[in-house]
Every structure is written in C-alpha cells, then in structure tokens.
C-alpha cells in the first residue's frame, strides 16, 4: 500500500515577511500544491492524507478555496483524506462550510469525526480532527489500541505538537509514543513545518511551501509504503516547494568576502525563487574598493532575487575612513563626535551633545565622513 502524506499547505497565508511580493508568494503556494497533485499521479498512490492546516485561516479569500478545490478535484478518483487542523478546525461557519468547498469531488473526504475509516482492503485510518484552534488535549488519545487478532494496516492521522519538538506540549501536544502504544503502523502528523521522522512510524511531512524565514527543512511531502501490519513503513521525502526562504549574514572586509558572499547566495538556489534576508556589515577596516563591489553585488541581487530584504551596515566603515575635513568647525565637529562615540564628554559646544544615542552619533559621524568624501547622503 502506497500513499502520500502531506500537511500544512497553509493556503492563503498572508506572508507578512514577503514585503511587496506577499501576494505572489500566496500564488506560489498553489504551484506547490500542483506539484503535490502531479507527484500523487506519477507515483500512483492509493490515497492521499492531508494532516491538517490545508488552509491558513477560516477567513482566507474565497478565490483561494475555489482554486484549492480545483486542484484537489484533479486528484480524483484517488481518495483524499483531509483532516481539519488548528488553523482550519472544524467549526460552524468555518472554511469547510463554504459553498466553494462544497464543490469538492466525492473522492475528497473531510474527516469530521474520530473513528475508523476503511481506506483500503485491510487498512484502517484513524483520523483525529481538531474542532478548535487551541487545546492542551492530545488529539491522538482517541485512537484505540490494536485489538488482538487485528492484522490490518492501521494509520493514525493527527495534527499537533509531538513531545520531542522544541515547542512540544504547548498546543495539541501529542505523545511521542502514540504509534507504538496504539499499535499504529504509521502516524501521519501535521503542524510542524519542517520534514521530520520520529522513530520509524511517526512523521511530519512539513509544509509544502515555506511560510517564513527560519523554518527548518520545509517544502516536502512524504511518500509512504507499508507492506503489511507491523511492517516498518518506507518513508520517502519529496521536495515540492517553489520558493526558498533564506536568511544570510556576512561581514565584508575585502573583495574575497564579496565573492564568498555571492557564491553562498548563489548556492541557496535559483535567485528568481529565492526570498533572501541579507544582513551585511561592512568592516571598519574594509578595503577601499569593497563598498563599490558590495554595492554592485547588492544591486545584482536586488534585480535577480524574488525578494531581497537587505540591511547594510556601513557606518563603522564610513567612520573609520580617513577624510580630509577642513580645519575649523567641521574638524572640531568630527572630533566631538568621536569623543561622544567613545563615551567621553567633548570640550566646547560639543559638550551639550554628550548624551546623544550612540547609534545616532555613529550615523552622524558616518554621514559627515560620507559628505566629506563626496559620496551619497
């Protein structure tokens, strides 16, 4: 028996970190769903389970529900078992009551109640649907233990935080030993956005498409094959994501650093599918030509990347550069700024500014130096 385990599609997710590309990021999630559909077809799976959070929220735009339904209908006649998760729990007036959802094909089964479902000859599914957003109850506690003589393949389907996770135990905690205790051959889980296999029978497929910076190993589905009751399942992760979200930090001192940075960024994947959060600090003792090279790279990345969220801190560099300030009030201003930045109280008129914010003082001095060098404001 072969089936596809997926979860956390989070369709309609707002993607607040995606800046002006937020709307496009939402569309890309549907492309990832398309990949799931194609994979299910190509792998000729017996059925598909979605372990919760198909939708980001009950309020997502109706157009998103319609598109999701169209994609799910493409899977027919392969049965699809959809579990309501904590983002889309089974509540009156929720996403599952939308007219647009009602257009879903008969092969799509919304799992409204716990119990036992015959998914294949000799295989039973134990869904644990959620009916509210938050709870400290283990949703899998309703799965009955395997009865003696029961030689069917038993699959659990749930959404929550496995006890081994860093945030485990907070919302819908799940006993890490549930599969063993309830005699399940496989426990398909959703909620954790990274791909994760616990033991040999419990697994998170993770989200099909990353939702923010900092998620670990998102963008997969799991192909699960089980030969029979008690047999160890074969779990194979398949990448379906469209976009890659990456955060990168670097300190640049010389042209080599610029090249390294460029290489590392290129290694993150195709730039047109990359959302890059880049934090670059120009070292105080950076080579003279480095700012130009860095600027050039940043411009290139800005152009190539799906999204570049750049923070460039060049104040240390700007301050440390030698500048030819005219003698008189400006050189005295610079001296006063240095004194304040170093934590001293300057003499003369600068004394009144001794308590200014350090970052502002550094920025002011960087500005003075940039202006003195005749470079941008």
């Amino acid at each position: 028996m072969k089936f596809l385990h997926t979860a956390d599609w989070q369709l309609g997710a707002r993607s607040a970190q995606a800046g002006h590309r937020a709307s496009e990021v939402r569309k890309k999630r549907l492309e990832a769903v398309e990949s799931v559909v194609e994979l299910a077809e190509s792998e000729d799976v017996d059925f598909v389970v979605i372990a919760g959070d198909t939708f980001e929220d009950h309020d997502v735009d109706d157009v998103m529900v319609r598109k999701a339904v169209r994609l799910l209908n493409r899977l027919g006649p392969v049965p699809v078992y959809v579990l309501p998760g904590n983002h889309d729990p089974l509540v009156p007036g929720g996403i599952w009551d939308r007219d647009s959802w009602k257009r879903v094909g008969e092969h799509v089964h919304l799992l409204r109640a716990p119990g036992e479902i015959q998914v294949e000859e000799g295989a039973a599914l134990y869904p644990c649907p959620l009916t509210q957003k938050r709870s400290t109850r283990d949703p899998t506690s309703v799965i009955p233990a395997r009865e003696e003589g029961d030689d069917r393949i038993r699959i659990g389907l749930a959404h929550g935080a496995l006890g081994i996770l860093p945030e485990g135990g907070r919302n819908y905690p799940i006993d890490p030993a549930r599969a063993e205790e309830s005699g399940l051959d496989y426990l398909a889980l959703g909620d954790w956005h990274g791909k994760l296999v616990h033991g040999s029978r419990t697994a998170y497929s993770g989200t099909i498409e990353p939702t923010s910076f900092g998620e670990k190993d998102p963008g997969h589905v799991l192909l699960v094959e089980i030969d029979g009751a008690g047999q160890e399942p074969a779990i194979l992760g398949k990448e379906v994501r469209v976009l890659r979200w990456a955060s990168h930090e670097a300190e640049i001192r010389d042209p080599t650093d610029v090249e390294t940075l460029e290489r590392e960024v290129r290694d993150l994947g195709e730039p047109d599918r990359l959302l890059l959060r880049l934090r670059v600090r120009l070292a105080a003792d950076a080579d003279e030509g480095v700012p130009t090279a860095l600027e050039s790279l940043c411009s290139e990345l800005e152009e190539d990347c799906f999204l570049l969220d750049l923070q460039l801190d060049d104040s240390a560099f700007a301050i440390s550069r030698e500048v030819d300030l005219p003698e008189g009030i400006l050189s005295r201003t610079d001296e006063a700024l240095t004194r304040i930045r170093e934590g001293s109280i300057p003499d003369g008129p600068g004394r009144a500014f001794a308590s200014e914010d350090e970052a502002v003082v550094a920025e002011a001095q960087a500005l003075l130096h940039r202006l003195a060098r005749g470079v941008g404001r």
């Binding site: 707002r14 735009d61 400006l330 600068g350």
Partner: protein
C-alpha cells in the same frame, strides 16, 4: 568708497540737472519733507546696483511725470584705488559708463553691462535678479545704507559681502570654500528632513513614513474589524449549531415515539370492528326494547285516556239535559213579556203622543204670533232711526264750520296778530301829560291809553285845551312796518272768519263745536241703524214668520175649540202633564222591550248551550271509540297486554347484558387505541414544532453562513496580508530612517554650535562698539548688545535688572537707535582699510533731544573714519557739529553745497 559729486536729471522731481557735492565727513542733506532727499538715495541705489537696461516698475517710476526722457545720473566717487566717475541713464537710450581718473582726466574704463558689473563691484554687490535690485544684493550697502521703507535688519542674516567685510577683521573666523561647501551639504541634508525652526519637515521621508504607518495601521484595523464580523458570525453559528443538534436530537426521539405509537395503533382496527359490531347490536336491542316499551306506554296511555273521555261523556250528557230544561223556561218568559208590551203599553203610548202633538201645534202657533208682533215693532223702530240719521246728515252737510286744522290755522293767525300788536305796542311812544291846570287833551288820531299814558304808534297831534297842540312823531320805520303787518294780518283773519260767517274767532270756535256735536249725534243714529240692521233683515224675517203663522193656523184648523181657546200658560201646563205621562209610558215600554230582549238572549243562549252540549257528547263518544280502536290495533300484534308487558321486560334484560359487554370493550379500546392515538397527535404536534424550530435555526445558519461568504468573497484576508507585509517593511525601515534623520539633526546642531561659537567671535567687535555707544546715549539704561547668528541683534543688557532684554521688547525709537548704532559700528569697522559711505535717511526722528545730544559725539566719532550722508529736515539737532550742509531744493531746481 565715498561720494564726492552727484549730478542728476530727468529723475522724479529733478527734471533739470541738479548737482550736489559732498564732503568726506558728515553731510547733512537738508530739505523739507517731500523735497527729494530720498530721491537722491534712490539715485545712489539705482546707479550703483541696477542694470542700466532694467525696466522694472520701480525703475519706470523714476521717470518724471508726463516725461519720456531717461532718468540720468553721474556720480564721482573715491575709493582706495582712485577716483571713478559713474554715469548711467535708464529707460530712454539707456547707458552705463565707468570712467577712471587718470592723470587728472576721465577715461572711459568700461561701458554697458561690463560697466554695470564693475560699478556694482565697487560696493561688492551681487548680480541682480530680474527686476530692481533687492537689499540683499547690495553688498556692503546692505549694512551701511539705512534707507526709508527698508527693513532695519535683514530677515536671516547679512549678505556675504557684509560678513566677508567683517570677517576680515577677525583672524580666527577665517573660513575656506571647502568648509563652506561641506557646511552647505550638511545644511542640505538637514533641510531634507528638518525645517528652519527645528521641526520635522513634511518633505522628509521620515515624515511620510510616520504618517503612512498609522494610516496603514488604521486601514489594517478597519479590515481586521470587517473580518472580525466573520468571526462574530462564526461564534453565533457555534451557538446555533448547538441548538440545531439539540433540536435534531429531540426530533429524532419524538419521531421514534411516534413510530412506536403508530405500531401500537396497528392493532386498533380489529378492536374497532369488534367495538363497532357490539355497538350496533346494542343499538338494535335498544331499538327493540324501545319499540315494545313505546307500544306498552301507548296502550297504557290509551287506557287512561279512554277512562278520562268516558267520564267526560257522562258529564256532557247530564249537562245536555239541564240545557234543554233552561231553554224551555226562557222561551215561556219571552212570550209573556211580548204580549204585555204589544198589547197593553204600545197602544197607550200612541194615544198620549197624539194628545201631545195637538197641544204642541197650539203652542207653536202662539209662539209664532208673538214673534210676528216683535218683528213688526223692530221694523218700525228701524224706519224712524234711518229718518233721524238722514236728517242729522243733512244738517252736518249744511253747517259751514271750520275743520280742526282750519281752526288751528285761525288761532295761529290770531296769535301772530297778537304778537304784532305787542311789538307795535312795545315800539309805541308813551306820552303822559302832567298839567298844572286841568285841561282836556285830545289825540288825533285817537291813541290808546294805559292809565295816564298814551301809547303813540304813529304821528299824533295832541290838542290841549286852550293851550295849544303838541305834534308827536314816533315809531319810526319799524313801527310802520309792524302796523302794516298788523293791518295785513287783521284783514287776512277777518277774511278767513268771513268764510264761516263769523266776525271773531270765538264764533268760529262755536261753529266748530256745533259741527262736532252734530257729527256725534249722526254717528249715534247711524250706529242704531246698523245695530237694527245687523244679522237677519227684520223685514224679511217678519215676512217669513207671517208665512209660518199662516201655515200654523192652517194646521190648527182641526183642533178643538177648547184647545184653541187655551192660552199659553194653560197650554204649557197641559203640555207638561201630557209629556210626563208620555215619558212614564214610554219608560215602561222601554223596560218591557229590554226585558223581552234579555229573555230572547237567554233563550238563544240556552239554545246554544244545549247545542254545544249535544256536540260535546257526540265528540266524546267518537273519541272514546277511536281510542279503543287504537288500543285494539296496538294489541293486535302482541295478543294481549300481558304478553306485551312480558316482552318489554325480556328486551330490557338483553339490552343490559349487551351494555355490559360493550363497556368492557370500551375500556380495552381506550387503552389500546384512543389514548395512544391522542398521544400520537401530541407527539406529531411536537414533531411539527421541532421541525419548525429546526427550520428557523437552519435559516439563521444559512443567513450567517451567507454573511461569512460575502465577507470572505471580498478578498479581505489577502488585503490584510499585503498590508501587513507592507507595514512590516515600513516599520523595519522606520528605526533606520529615524537614526539617519536624527543623525542629520545631530550633525547640523553640532556644526551650528561651533558656528555660533565662531559668530560670537565675529560679532564681538561690533557688539562691543554698539554696547558702548548704547550705554552712552541711554545713560547706561541699556548696554552690551547681544548679536545672534548672522550678526543680527537679539537682546540688550538692561542694567537696572542686570538681565538681557529681548530686542523686540524695546520701544520703537530705542530699537531704531540700536539699529542705527549697529550700522554705524559696522561702518566704522568696515572703514578700517578705506572710508566707507554711510547713509541714514531720516532715521533719528524718534530720538528725544537728550539722546540726540548724546548721539552727536558718536556721530562725530563715526565721521572720523566714514563719510556720512544724513538726511534731515531739521539741522538744529546737529547744530555745532562740523558738517557740510547740502540743501535739497523744494521745487527740485537749483541746489549746491
């Protein structure tokens, strides 16, 4: 640079050429108001700083009224480099020339625009913009020339030429172009974000960001609120879902109950059939019992009726016999009365009535004869009354007497005559003779006398015996008129009286009275006639009575003599007794007739009673027979009454047995059919109610779901996502930008602080000098001028309170004096290398005499190093000072030193 000579023509009031010469020190430009002192300063400004080709409104205004000639000036100046002659003409054939004195003669150094530039450079002026040159472009003159209608000090700072000029004095404040450029760049960066007053500029991106973020947050909150409605609907739906579940559960339960009841009721049909059959049987038995009972009742009832009717028949027969006896008795009584009436009393009555008729005939004749006599008398009286009336009427007609109105008229005339006479009398002359000797006096005409006085109404002659005569003329015209009026009235009255045959009014009155009396008698006679004639005509009535008398006499011809001889009184007596007899007989007849009538009625009644009794007997007999027949009919089907009674008893027993059986069946029916059926009805009603409730809940669910659908169809969630993403970017950008903007501010403030320190150094000498002078002219009320950025005065020290006083709090005059001193101090400081021209256009008019006196030594001190042109209309204030007085002609003509 100082000015030595100035020639001007075609310039406002100076239509012809006017030449003015100036000394090196103090020059007082003296002239009345409106004489043209300010025009001379205008000549200096335009000549030194304006393009000769300029056509600005201010330049056009220099042309004399109604003149098209170009305003023209020639000014000779001396500078450190030598003497120059500046010549300019504006508007018409404009011209600009700069001549340099070389070897005692003038050489054209430059002309046209180049000359303009060189001339401006003499006072370090800027290139002017379009139009007339503004103060800030006038180089050193901005500080040194203090003219009318111009600001005491510039708005921001003095121009660069002034600053440059003053900086030259202080070594430490020397600046470089690099510093200036960088300072400008810092300033520009600052101005990108901040206003001059230190507020965040609306142009700053930070300002935009700070505005945009709350706006976006507000929009976001609004969108979230809208989506919040969906959540509210969801919460409502949750409660509705609970209701729906509860109702559905109850509905299922009730439906199950209904199904159970329906199953129970499935066995009801057989029981119902059994019950129906038992009921039918009972009905049948009841009918049979009722039928026999009814027949028995009817027979018993018939027997009772037969007994009652038989008894009544017996009574009726007895009553019939009695009636027949009564009838015979009544008949005998009626016959007896009839004989007595017809044979005894009626003949007696006829006889008495005949006697009475004869007596009445005689009485009627007597009455008619008497009436005839009375009428005869009336006819005669009427004849004599008519004759009297006729006689009186004739007398009235013949009597000529005045009517009441005519008599009134005569009386009025007599009164008028009397009034005229009185007037004549009062107008008459009264003459009395008192003679010593008795002498007869005669008046001619005779005069009326009252006692011893003669009333003279006209010319009268009194003849006194053997004495002579006295002629009296009196009355006059009025008296004559009255006398004539009297005569006229007299004649008129007499004529009127004559118409009635009278001579005086008393007769007329008597005549009138006589007529009135006659008319009264006539009326009485006529009334009598009318009275007699009233009603029936007596004569006609007499004739009618006579006819009746004749008729009565004829009818009395058969009467006995005895009767005819009877007089009325006797007749009346006889008539009375006969009438009495007749009444008595008549009453008796009436009584008998009535008794007979009653006897007849009694007979008829007896006959009727006998008939009715006979009829009753017949009827009762028939009914008894009929009842007996009916009874026989009923008993025919039963045989005997006893058998019928036995049958009734048997039927009652059967009916009771059937009723007991039915009761048992009813109990079973109630338990198994009726009660379950009623219960089913109740359950069905509950089911209906629950179905309705469920429908309502479902409707509400549909409505709330539809609202959620509407909200989610608006794309709010995506819009929120987009806004959040945009807001996230802006919020992350905000601190970075804030740091940059704050950095720009910090840098500018630091540079300003150092700049201020340096300005202090620059302002020092100026402030020190002005402070000293201020103390001198104010008697040390004020001292120590404070100059701010741009060398502009900000405050003075107020010695009494030992505190600074803002310059704006000084009186207008003192503030003016501070400005004059400032300009003079700048003049002195700027004249260190070469003397400079200082111009004061009537700026000390507000100084009191004491201050003016204290001002003079300061002015003298200034004039040691500067040339001062001071316009005034009062040179007394400067008396005793060494000064050249340049008179400005009142009419714009002439002039000279």
């Amino acid at each position: 640079m100082i000015v030595e000579r100035m020639a001007v023509k075609h310039w406002r009031g100076f239509r012809d050429e006017h030449v003015f010469k100036f000394d090196r020190g103090l020059n007082l430009l003296l002239g009345l108001n409106e004489a043209g002192k300010s025009t001379l300063f205008e000549v200096l400004q335009r000549t030194f700083f304006d393009r000769h080709t300029g056509r600005a409104q201010e330049i056009k205004a220099m042309q004399p009224l109604a003149s098209s000639l170009g305003p023209e000036a020639e000014i000779v100046v001396r500078t450190g480099d030598g003497r120059y002659r500046v010549r300019k003409r504006f508007l018409d054939s404009p011209l600009s020339e700069l001549h340099l004195e070389r070897g005692g003669s003038w050489e054209l150094d430059h002309d046209g625009d180049e000359a303009d530039a060189r001339i401006r450079a003499l006072l370090e002026g800027d290139v002017p913009g379009r139009g007339a040159t503004k103060e800030e472009h006038r180089g050193l003159a901005q500080a040194l020339w203090y003219l009318q209608r111009e600001s005491p000090v510039p708005a921001g700072k003095w121009n660069e030429a002034v600053e440059r000029g003053l900086q030259g004095l202080v070594e430490v404040v020397a600046t470089t172009p690099e510093e200036e450029a960088l300072s400008r760049a810092i300033e520009e960066v600052y101005e990108e974000h901040w206003t001059a007053t230190g507020r965040l500029s609306t142009r700053s991106p930070l300002s935009d960001l700070r505005n945009e973020i709350p706006e976006m947050e507000e929009e976001l909150a609004d969108l979230r609120e809208q989506l919040g409605e969906a959540q509210e609907h969801r919460e409502t739906l949750e409660s509705l879902a609970v209701q729906k579940e509860e109702k559905s559960r109850r509905l299922s339960e009730e439906k199950e109950r209904a199904a159970g009841l329906e199953e129970t009721l499935g066995q009801a049909e057989a029981l119902e059939e059994e019950k129906r059959s038992a009921e039918n049987r009972l009905s049948e038995l009841k009918r049979e019992e009722e039928s026999a009972s009814a027949d028995l009742d009817r027979v018993q009832s018939l027997e009772e009726k037969i007994a009652e009717e038989s008894e009544a028949l017996d009574e009726a027969n007895a009553h019939l016999a009695e009636a027949e006896r009564d009838e015979q008795k009544a008949k005998a009584h009626a016959d007896e009365l009839n004989v007595k009436l017809n044979e005894e009393f009626k003949p007696r009555l006829r006889e008495v009535e005949q006697t009475l008729g004869r007596l009445q005939s005689r009485r009627d004749l007597l009455k008619l004869e008497k009436e005839e006599d009375r009428l005869q008398a009336v006819v005669e009286e009427l004849g004599s009354a008519r004759a009297e009336a006729k006689r009186l009427k004739s007398r009235v007609a013949k009597l000529n007497a005045p009517s009441e109105d005519e008599l009134d008229e005569l009386r009025e005339k007599e009164r008028a005559l009397d009034r005229a006479r009185v007037r004549a009398e009062s107008a008459a002359i009264r003459v009395r003779f008192e003679l010593d000797y008795a002498r007869a006096v005669e008046a001619e005409p005779e005069a009326e006398r009252e006692e011893e006085e003669y009333l003279i109404t006209g010319a009268t002659e009194f003849r006194i015996e053997d004495v002579g005569s006295i002629h009296v003329r009196g009355g006059g015209q009025d008296l004559e008129d009255v006398r004539e009026q009297i005569a006229t009235l007299q004649e008129d009255l007499e004529a009127d009286l004559r118409r009635y045959g009278a001579t005086e009014i008393g007769e007329a009155v008597e005549l009138r009275q006589e007529r009135v009396d006659l008319e009264a008698k006539l009326a009485t006679a006529q009334e009598k006639v009318s009275k007699l004639e009233k009603g029936v005509d007596p004569e006609e009535e007499l004739a009618r009575v006579r006819n009746e008398v004749e008729a009565a006499r004829r009818s009395s011809q058969g009467l006995s003599d005895e009767l005819l001889s009877l007089e009325m009184d006797e007749l009346r007596s006889r008539l009375g007794s006969v009438e009495e007899e007749r009444t008595e007989i008549s009453n008796r007849v009436d009584e008998l007739a009535e008794g007979h009538s009653r006897a007849q009625d009694a007979l008829l009644q007896a006959v009727d009673t006998r008939g009715k009794a006979s009829q009753t007997v017949g009827e009762l007999d028939t009914r008894v027979k009929s009842l007996k027949g009916q009874k026989a009919d009923i008993l025919e089907q039963y045989g005997t009454l006893e058998r019928l009674e036995a049958l009734v008893e048997e039927a009652g027993k059967k009916r009771k047995a059937q009723e007991s059986a039915l009761e048992a069946l009813d109990a079973e029916y109630r338990e198994k059919v009726k009660e379950p059926r009623e219960e089913l009805k109740r359950v069905q009603k509950t089911i209906e109610g629950l179905a309705g409730d469920l429908q309502d809940v479902e409707k509400k669910i549909t409505a709330h779901t539809a609202k959620i659908e509407t909200l989610t169809a608006r794309g709010l969630y995506s819009r929120i996502g987009d806004l959040e993403a945009e807001l996230d970017l802006k919020k992350r950008r905000l601190p970075v930008l804030e740091r940059r903007v704050e950095a720009a501010r910090l840098l500018k403030q630091l540079v300003d602080a150092f700049q201020k320190e340096r300005s202090g150094a620059l302002a020092g000498p100026v402030a020190e000098r002005v402070g000293t002078w201020l103390g001198e002219i104010t008697g040390d009320t004020y001292s120590a001028l404070e100059l701010g950025t741009g060398l502009l005065p900000t405050s003075v020290r107020f010695e009494r309170y030992d505190s600074p006083l803002d310059i704006t709090e000084l009186s207008y005059g003192t503030r003016e004096q501070v400005v004059v001193l400032l300009r003079l101090a700048m003049g002195v400081l700027l004249s260190e290398e070469e003397p400079r021209l200082v111009v004061l256009d009537d700026r000390l008019v507000n100084a009191d005499p004491v201050r003016m006196r204290r001002f003079r030594p300061i002015l003298e001190e200034v004039c040691d190093s500067c040339q001062v042109l001071l316009a005034t209309c009062n040179d007394a204030a400067y008396a005793g000072m060494e000064a050249a007085v340049v008179r400005v002609p009142e009419d714009g003509r002439g002039g000279g030193v």
